[in-house]
Symmetry: C2
Subunit: 473 residues, 2 copies
């Protein structure tokens, strides 16, 4: 077992390793280049009886594990949605790991709960939400959206599903656009509604929900005797960051008494910049929303914010207070164990506090603005190119496009673009992922690293063109 | 924004702060002594526009936040179940935070998935489980148990609840002892069964499930036309670490075709020591089990192991593969996103690897043995005392007892023991929590810190006697 003296020594070695990593991360291949099984085969099949020196363990980490890491921390990581953290946030995680606080109830570390209360207020104001909203930090948007579904379910059933189960309950119906994140599908299954009761609403040419189609679907369901329960509006879909018309959806939600949940998991970060608040128009009609500072607000994963107007409905659905969790302050404080499935919870507010204070709001806004400007630049380059084709609007910093020189069939285009992406990723220089839009294999480029520069974007664009030429186009 | 040079400097300051904290943690009051609102009132109501120096932020952390921390890291923390981490595990968290890996699919960092595969094998072997078991790392036992419930639900319904919802399904029934952890209640509600369908089976004088009563309950439910679905066996309840008779429950589960889930969240750690494996007798009949290295195996929260024999039933229930998550290796590798509600996942296997290697199995066993020996010593002291009374058996390292000099009514005893605990906690010297057993206010003492010594246990016992005397007994 390491004693404190050993720990001090190794923690300093780690501190330098961490700083070196940040310094050198651009030199690693962004996407790990290993083959399936390559890492595992280097790890012994059984544990050791005797202690090993930390130096030995760390040597193995560098030799065996590091080649199997895809570098989410690289500014050349343009894949999925980024999980962009910042150095301030990593410093906070060092403290969090050391304290090992369990913030399940107020008493188990009052500061964890009260800093979280405050951070939820700061973030609410930063995002331009009204004081009606309250909330707590959760792990991911998937579980945040799950909370919303369960709350809606229990409110509508008068908490009778919690009590007796679904027997005798109406057939509830859930609505989301065809482009909504897969977590709504997963959650609808898990929460017991059945995926057949998730109604996917068609999208327009910009991949945003067509609200008239939502209303038609709700009316048809009512006519069939179903119970329309819940609608999800996406403020930034995962495929293309399309923005559903939140105001029109909100009006329909109010007319038909639907629980209205907004998924702003990714694009929510842009709401700190006033000129992007057109996206959230109508969000005030929502009952709940999720936003992930761990995606594009430079805060280490995991850090999801679940905002809700009526928290009692959530805590009443989840509350269980066995004797061993009762405390004297239960009526005076927030006990965040009742806000999600888990009981235990990490001290996540600390990293958000470090991030917000060390950047300050203005620098955060500036970075977000730059990312969007550069995405816009890339978009224009693509539009002006005779070889590449833009496939979706670019409301924030995700660009959806493909190679298309006008000389290939749709089938050939799909095959070529898949090959192009794989070659680009295999170069290790940048990492992108894909989606499919109207059957078209679509390259997704998203730049969200806090230290991204215009130069990174220019080099990425040059590489794409180069690679296409290299592949004989 | 901090640059790498600033980061390096502050990371070294942090390294010293962390080591100092470990050195001094015994001098802090274990339970935070602040009042509700005391921390929050010191935090400004709004964020700053301008960046602040890290030194300033950290000064506030020490001044405002630290007094609101309950020190889970103190060896004098004897409350709840410990969340005992180790220094090796904290070093791992430094690396994890720096890499910021998202292990949702293999491709997003092959090493995260493959190290996790291996760690699940190492831990399976360490716990004495057979090679039939496989699994993945999750956040908490609550969600692990939730997985089990959803899997059982979907297997029994032929995945029809996932597809169509509960309509037309039989009334499923879930069984657990009266002493099972509150997460089963919460999960039964959330999963849509209804808490009325959770049948609480009575316990014997040792707080372990009476298996004959389980069989009676199942038969009665069958007679009523219900569908008995799931039984939870606790290998270590939260109240008293009581051990349900896993073998007898297993036989009943097999006879009546119930999904059999074992909650070994806490006491599972003791299974690394062969002489404690009497507790897991019959676990081989189970379908799934949970165990938390973050409780008593010195690995930072969160780190829950969910083991299952048939993982396909789980991944089929949870699987959703939108285009943007498809990869070429999907058929060759584990994509752990399909093993829980969340999509994103931290690189948790690293800390387990650091812990297992830096301690080695033999030292881990030795520490667990010591904890149990010292709990046994405390138990004997209590049994020999004329002032204190043991209230439950001590299978591992949790001691349940109360002050009872034979001169008070039950009501007075409850009031006195509550007062005694609060005075002890208010001293800041040690921290204990309570439960109620057969209506008796019960003090719970549990010693699980890796650096716990017999001296800490002796001083805790001396303090309890002193405090009782101080309160006039």
């Amino acid at each position: 077992m390491l004693n404190t003296q050993d720990f001090r020594k190794h923690a300093h070695v780690m501190a330098d390793w961490m700083a070196d990593y940040f310094e050198n991360v651009e030199h690693y291949p962004v996407m790990s280049q290993v083959k399936p099984g390559e890492i595992k085969s280097q790890l012994p099949g059984s544990f050791n009886e005797s202690p090993e020196k930390f130096e030995e363990i760390f040597k193995d980490f560098e030799k065996i594990i590091m080649p199997g890491i895809t570098h989410w921390e690289s500014p050349n990581f343009f894949a999925y949605f980024p999980a962009s953290k910042s150095k301030a946030s990593v410093l906070a995680e060092m403290v969090t790991a050391t304290l090992g606080v369990q913030g399940m109830v107020w008493l188990t570390s009052p500061a964890a709960t009260e800093l979280e209360d405050r951070m939820m207020e700061w973030m609410r104001d930063l995002l331009g939400l009204s004081a009606e909203w309250t909330g707590s930090i959760q792990d991911t948007a998937s579980t945040g959206t799950f909370n919303a579904l369960i709350t809606a379910r229990e409110k509508a059933s008068g908490y009778q599903i919690n009590q007796k189960g679904f027997a005798g309950m109406p057939q509830y119906r859930i609505y989301a656009s065809e482009q909504a994140h897969s977590s709504i599908d997963k959650n609808v299954k898990i929460a017991g509604f059945g995926i057949d009761n998730l109604v996917k609403i068609p999208v327009d040419k910009n991949f945003a929900m067509i609200p008239e189609k939502l209303e038609v679907a709700v009316r048809e369901d009512l006519a069939k005797g179903f119970h329309p329960l819940f609608v999800l509006g996406a403020m930034g879909t995962t495929g293309t960051t399309a923005v559903d018309p939140l105001d029109k959806i909100g009006q329909i939600a109010q007319t038909y008494n639907l629980w209205y949940h907004v998924d702003a998991a990714y694009s929510g970060a842009a709401l700190i910049v006033p000129e992007f608040r057109w996206m959230s128009k109508g969000m005030e009609m929502a009952d709940s929303m999720v936003f992930n500072p761990h995606k594009w607000l430079f805060t280490n994963f995991d850090c999801n914010l679940y905002y809700v107007k009526d928290p009692k409905a959530l805590t009443q659905a989840y509350s269980i207070t066995p004797e061993y969790l009762k405390t004297d302050t239960d009526t005076e404080v927030n006990n965040y164990r009742d806000w999600h499935i888990q009981l235990g919870r990490r001290f996540r507010a600390l990293k958000l506090w470090f991030v917000l204070r060390s950047f300050g709001a203005e620098e955060l806004r500036q970075i977000i603005r730059h990312h969007c400007e550069w995405a816009d630049w890339l978009k224009e380059e693509i539009e002006q190119s005779t070889q590449f084709e833009l496939l979706a609007p670019v409301p924030v910093n995700l660009v959806c496009f493909r190679y298309n020189d006008g000389k290939m069939s749709e089938e050939e285009l799909n095959a070529f673009n898949e090959k192009l992406m794989k070659e680009i990723n295999a170069s290790g220089k940048i990492f992108m992922t894909h989606t499919k839009l109207n059957g078209k294999y679509t390259l997704r480029w998203v730049g969200g690293h806090p230290e991204l520069t215009k130069g990174h974007v220019e080099r990425a664009w040059a590489l794409m063109k180069e690679m296409a030429a290299h592949l004989g186009r």
